[in-house]
Homo-oligomer: 363 residues x 2
Amino acid sequence: MTARFTAVYHVHGDAASIDARAQAIAVEQSVEMPLSAIDDPHVLSDIVGRVDDVSDLGGGSFAVRIALATATVGVDAAQLFNMAFGNTSLHDDVTLHDIGIPFDLAAAFGGPRHGIAGLRHRAGAIGRALTCSALKPQGISAKRLGELAGRFAAGGVDFVKDDHGLADQAFSPFAERVPICAAAVRAGGGETRYVPSLSGDLGQMRTQIALAREVGVDTVMVAPMLAGVSNFQALVTEFPGFSFFAHPAMAGAARIAPALLIGKLFPLLGADAVVFPTHGGRFGYTAETCRQLAANARAPLHDLKPCFPVPAGGITLQRVPEILDFYGVDTMLLIGGNLLAARDRLSEETAIFARTVAQHFYR
Amino acid sequence: MTARFTAVYHVHGDAASIDARAQAIAVEQSVEMPLSAIDDPHVLSDIVGRVDDVSDLGGGSFAVRIALATATVGVDAAQLFNMAFGNTSLHDDVTLHDIGIPFDLAAAFGGPRHGIAGLRHRAGAIGRALTCSALKPQGISAKRLGELAGRFAAGGVDFVKDDHGLADQAFSPFAERVPICAAAVRAGGGETRYVPSLSGDLGQMRTQIALAREVGVDTVMVAPMLAGVSNFQALVTEFPGFSFFAHPAMAGAARIAPALLIGKLFPLLGADAVVFPTHGGRFGYTAETCRQLAANARAPLHDLKPCFPVPAGGITLQRVPEILDFYGVDTMLLIGGNLLAARDRLSEETAIFARTVAQHFYR
């Protein structure tokens, strides 16, 4: 018996052809050739994908569960994505809905190295949700970003992250921005942590994270779908002292269910916190998608640590109580632009944000 | 005046709200915050995205052209994707349809290092289309893959590539497979080239490409959307003697237009040949999508070299003449599974494939 993991696809089709379509996906995501051309009994029994279930979801949609050989993945993150959805991502009648991660695969990838408890310890925050804001817009100087960082810290937010658009551009190069922002946050004297965003290839990210460590930073942000998931995996493994925020940039392009990709796979690879666009803001995720995503992030995957869901994307101060009631206490709330809109009152608005979260009485 | 590049989005919406939606995308893909919160005139004039055109395509679809500041990209591939589609990929009413690449950006990325002329030179092939096949299924040993490679070479195909599912698995580890397959192809005595598929993080890919070079390999395959586009860019830059095939795994069906992603962006980053699923096979791309993709790959992007389109995905020998007439002579045809289905007659079928392509009279 070969070890297998399961992938669940949602497929548009009709009842007459769905079994054949399911079998075609099982072949595409494993050996990718006519089975009649395979004479190796081991490959036929242990490597070819196996259709385990086809369920009619109604409205011309079917859930297809396929068992794929764990041996085809090894312990490489990109290969997990390749085997689960590589070629099938090119078919627009299919989305990847879920992956069942067996114990051994979860243990091999390792999950969050710090998780909810680790980030709570860093923030010195028990019994309340955490808070986060973002440095932007890109285009202003490192010095001005540093000033904003200092004012966020003065307001008492737990984490101040780079906007995901901040890379290594000429207007605020990483090597100039990170020391300035780290110093500005530290000067606040509180527990606020600065979270720089890494960019470029793996070598450039390694250089950036080493530079961040030199100036006392211990938490960074990576967008795994831009970085390449294997490179995110490499950074998590090589820098176990660091906490990692995962950003969802480019996560939508491949039609993988957000509750799976952001809520389950990013934590599997080592995200301690996952940023995602919450319902009711300027993105289109439904409340149910957000609820499932957050539940997946927090659910211990076998022996792995739980991960903080970080709802974001146009949250206003007015919505904080509603959002806290929706997500519960093991949540990190991210408000960026709507705090920055306070301009001269940035520290004061940030303090209101921090206080509202700390004093919230959960329904 | 700041240098800008243009991104064209196709947006589902209605005439009454499309202008506001276009403006929201322009903000999302640049400063990602309320413009009222920005007081820096330079950011407002030179960094914020600018809506240049909105055209009604009919059927509730609009083409929105937005000019984005080149300074926000620098010369990092992932940042190009991030600025063009990072957050907007999370909105399911939008696809990224095209990007206008200015001369300086094209020159900075560099494009194919060898291109159509370089691959023709390597294959010793003038005035005909090129041919390619694929080693599979995964799950068989390196020795058996090597036997298949030798038989493809005996049949006279120009390139024999690893199936994109072949990574560094225990059943045929890269370090064992590549020397065996390279030797088997070389033993054929012809011009056939073996093209191993790289996998893992950037460091692992570097190790693999160095190992391939040691055994005389000068062409490799990478799936940029799995590797992370910046890491693909790094490999192309670091190994200028190598030719690169780009594989479309995880390239997604519906969110970035294939003619843009595979036909234009992969070559921009250095692909000398781009594999894609052709129409009429087992994938759903239309003939028009394939025609545009191939045209983009071949079109010299400013001073860059042209790139080989490699139609693939269930092509049979019977379809070769039709496909050659459709794509023309500057094409590399890839038939994998349908040659392997010949089993004992693999070399003979491969020879028929090579001869059919070499002798084709184009309509």
